[in-house]
Amino acid sequence: MEQSITIELNGERRAITVRTDATLLEVLRDGCGLLSVRETCGIGICGACTVLVDGVPVSSCLLLAPLADGCRITTVEGLSRGDELHPVQRAFIEQMAFQCSYCTPGMVLSAVALLAEHPEPSPEEIAEYLAGNLCRCGSYPRILAAVSDAARSLRQGGA
């Protein structure tokens, strides 16, 4: 069974035909070629496949694509404007908050959502919010520092 859905993907309106049992992860990766969306656990634990659905971080491995119909979807490909990186991405580079970077897109998107909700999070709040994003390389202390830096930078006008 297939179904047609309309989504706003990284700022662009897209009409896509999907299998009714396809996950959003499959549609974004295999259908749309957005390879920053990555599977690790397949059961919504690790956060590697995180995308923003109407601004909310969601494990795309668990969301059936038809349920995303009418939603605004952001992947990390839609975060930077041209060559200009998002302040969270810049902070990740300045703090070198990654090693293999497989988890980085999901981590960055969760951080973007956190900072939209809480512009001034404490380290404990950051850790709590990002607890659903795993980094097996263990870059966690650097990620906490990067998100704090990004929060400061966004409060100062995203400079």
Binding site: L85, I93, A131
Partner: protein, 765 residues
């Protein structure tokens, strides 16, 4: 220059924008997707396989079984890096839950998975064995019929191994130094204890992935592997090809930690591509990752002879490494663990018997720390037990026995550039060791501190080659077969080439490893790359620098000594107007690209029957110290502060060096407190990230600190693993001090800690 500085990775922008492409992202037109049907029994004879239903799934192109494999002429159906014991597909027998019984190639991943699930297999179950000690008992089911003519010479074997024919022991490594009987006779006190560690899994976030393509009888494989040259050789062996007809290209990996050392999915993808005539990609599901490779579960018994004044007179070790159904590199793990268990101490009399043992469990192989985590768990726990028995402070006891510069290790090799004591003292100081050893908070919570110190070898002997080139655009390129798995290899090699050639490191291109294009390297393992490959790159870049100077000297009619390199130019020192761009010099030479080769080798090796020789051309040295809080009502352990002090010698990139230490501490926390693969009669109980926990943000120690010890003029020491093995051992020692009882088995779960507390209560009561 960037060397020694904290500079970002050269591919940092690709990484934060998600544009970096891993091996699972590789694709080719007309590509098929593969899936595997795996055994559901731990040991059995395959009676019948029915593939009819699988073949009817729309989109399925091929379903292949061991029977098909056997019928293929010229194909060698088994492989393995040290013993050729693993079939590409089970031939007539399955040896663990997860053994591949059939492979499917289909137009879509879904069709492949659906078809694989429809392969019907009938088994005649055979008796199975899961415990390494039971597996060595007479009459235990035998996993393999090892014969004296095996292992085959000419495979990837690089050291002597000693399979015990007619048993499940696929390697017995022995170390003999002095006379342990005499050492125990000289002791005032002899202690003995047995320690255990469970199987755990690497959980690289990117699964194993390989894409195989056949063209005109030649095989190309894109694969996330730490071992491109071993993989090439093994694939050539399977398909009966000269190695030059196999090409292995390695994109960056989304983590590995040892799980991508030696072939795992490449033979299967290559077989399906061979049979279908189309490119085939195989990417494992997470549950398959858990049955593809694990860290060796171990049972280690240590007997230690001591004098009253705190000297170690003798150490006797019996170690058992549960390597599962296939040897993989288990024989080498048992060897490295065999000398690793001795520890960095002055011990005149040593006897080690280290056995690698087959059981009906998933294969175990390389894992970050490579045997030293299990070895340190046993030997560093034993050091604290000994200190307690002697009434000595654990730091003081270690300092009395630690090897110092120019002393001899149990292998007979003399050690230089030795910093064990310094690492340990710094780690102890970092957590305030001098304070009270144990503090009760009054509500059932107790705080205590623990220490551990380790030595870890680097693959010896080994060889790394590198090329550095400059083209007519003046661009510097590093050709190296060191793989990028998140450690920042591309960046560090670019920095080293850049330094020699006086260009910004960001402008250096580092090509992906490609056995057809990048020169030979042993493999990206054992924390060897920054040192071994780094030296090869540096030498190549320095040779290139000399060549540029010679060309410029001729052109400018001056002596090379009068010239200097700056900003991609060669010029007469102090005369910027004379500058000739690198690209111009390449044009002058008449070449498209000027390329120079560098090489780095280390020498040594151990006698497999005595463990005497050179185990490692230099040693990775580190210490850990932790403070824990144990809630004695629940058994829960909280790590308040974890510190690692690691000897770096010389740091090339401060960012990536620090990230190795931090990452190792985090890895060690998982291993210490909760990571454990559970099997029930060989059935994996927790092969998913819901039931198998890895550390998250919420599991970090409240404080994490570390040191990188550097010395002017020192050589680079690898950092990829050293800080990991110290953590579980230090946590175990801290918990033992806190509760006054020893937990001898990892991980330190609340249940185990509580049981130890209650057992102690029983003793006292």
């Amino acid at each position: 220059m960037s060397v020694g500085q904290a500079v970002p990775m050269i591919d940092a922008v690709e990484r934060v924008t998600g544009r970096i492409r891993f091996s699972q992202d590789a694709s080719l037109p007309g590509m098929l997707h593969a899936a595997a049907m795996r055994s559901v029994v731990p040991h059995g004879r395959i009676v019948r396989i029915d593939t009819a239903a699988a073949l009817e799934v729309p989109g399925v192109v091929a379903v292949v079984t061991g029977e098909d494999l056997r019928r293929l002429p010229g194909l060698r159906p088994v492989y393995g890096p040290q013993i050729e014991d693993q079939p590409v597909i089970a031939l007539d027998r399955v040896r663990y839950v997860g053994d591949i019984v059939a492979l499917v190639a289909a137009e879509t991943p879904r069709a492949a998975q659906e078809a694989a699930a429809l392969v019907a297999v009938e088994y005649e179950e055979l008796p199975a064995v899961f415990d390494p000690l039971e597996a060595l008992e007479p009459g235990a089911p035998l996993l393999h019929e090892l014969e004296p003519e095996r292992p085959h010479e000419g495979t990837a074997l690089y050291f002597g191994i000693r399979p015990q024919f007619g048993t499940n022991c696929c390697n017995l490594f022995r170390m003999r130094r002095g006379d342990v009987a005499r050492g125990f006779a000289e002791a005032d006190l002899v202690l003995e204890e047995t320690f255990r560690t469970p199987a755990i899994q690497h959980v690289a976030m990117e699964p194993h992935a390989a894409l195989a393509l056949w063209e005109d009888g030649r095989l190309t494989v894109w694969s996330g592997t730490q071992t491109p040259f071993n993989t090439r050789q093994i694939l050539a062996g399977i398909f009966g090809l000269p190695v030059e007809h196999v090409r292995v290209i390695v994109p960056p990996m989304g983590g590995s930690y040892g799980c991508k050392v030696f072939p795992r999915v490449e033979p299967q993808a290559a077989l399906l591509a061979y049979l279908t005539g189309r490119p085939v990609k195989l990417v494992l599901r997470r549950d398959e990752e858990f049955v593809t490779l694990t860290r060796h579960a171990t049972v280690v018994t240590i007997r230690l002879g001591l004098t009253r004044d705190g000297r170690i007179t003798a150490k006797e070790v019996r170690a058992y490494w549960n390597t599962g159904a296939y040897a993989d590199c288990g024989p080498d793990v048992a060897r490295k663990g065999g000398f690793g268990i001795v520890g960095p101490y002055r011990i005149p009399h040593v006897a080690v018997d280290s056995r690698c043992v087959y059981t009906n469990l998933p294969p175990a192989g390389a894992f970050r720390g490579y045997a030293v985590t299990q070895a340190a768990w046993a030997s560093e726990s034993m050091m604290d037990i000994a200190a307690d028995a002697l009434g000595l402070d654990p730091l003081e006891f270690r300092l009395r026995n630690l090897l110092r510069d120019s002393e001899t290790f149990a292998t007979g090799e003399t050690l230089h550039d030795v910093h064990f004591a310094e690492c340990l003292e710094r780690a102890a100081a970092a957590i305030g060791w001098e304070g009270p050893p144990r503090r009760e908070l009054g509500d059932g919570r107790v705080r205590a501190k623990g220490l551990a110190v380790v030595m870890k070898g680097m693959t010896t002997p080994s060889r790394s080659e590198a090329k550095v080139g400059i083209d007519r655009s003046g661009r510097v390129t590093v050709y190296s077969s060191t793989v990028e798995l998140g450690q920042g290899a591309r960046t560090v090699l670019a920095q080293l080439a850049a330094e020699a050639l006086g260009v910004p490191y960001q402008e250096v291109r580092v090509v992906d490893p490609d056995t057809a294009r990048t020169p030979f390297d042993n493999r990206t393992t054992s924390s060897r790359s920054t040192y071994m490959m780094g030296n090869a790159v540096r030498q190549a870049a320095l040779a290139l620098r000399e060549r540029l100077l010679r060309i410029a000297a001729e052109r400018l009619e001056v002596e090379p000594a009068d010239l200097e390199l700056a900003d991609g130019n060669v010029r007469v020192a102090g005369a910027p107007a004379s500058a000739l761009g690198f690209g111009v010099l390449v044009e002058v030479s008449g070449q498209e690209e000027l390329v120079e080769l560098g090489e780095s080798r280390n020498q040594g090796g151990l006698d497999p029957d005595t463990g005497q020789g050179i185990a490692s051309s230099h040693w990775h040295q580190g210490a850990g110290a932790v403070e824990v809080e144990v809630d004695t009502r629940t058994g829960k352990v909280t790590i308040l502060h974890a510190h690692a002090s690691v000897y770096a010698g010389k740091v090339i990139n401060r960012h990536t060096a620090e990230l190795q230490n931090l990452g190792n501490i985090v890895f060690g926390v998982g291993s210490a407190l909760f990571e454990e693969l559970v099997y029930d009669q060989g059935q994996p109980v927790n092969p998913n990230l819901s039931d198998y926990l890895v550390p998250s943000f919420l599991d970090l120690p409240e404080r994490m600190t570390h040191d990188l010890l550097e010395r002017p003029g020192a050589e680079v020491h690898g950092l990829g693993e050293t800080a990991l093995p110290v953590i579980p051992a230090a946590v175990g020692n801290a918990v033992a001090r806190a509760i006054g009882a020893r937990v001898t088995e990892l991980p330190l779960t609340p249940e185990r800690v509580l049981r130890a507390i209650r057992a102690r209560g029983g003793e006292r009561g």
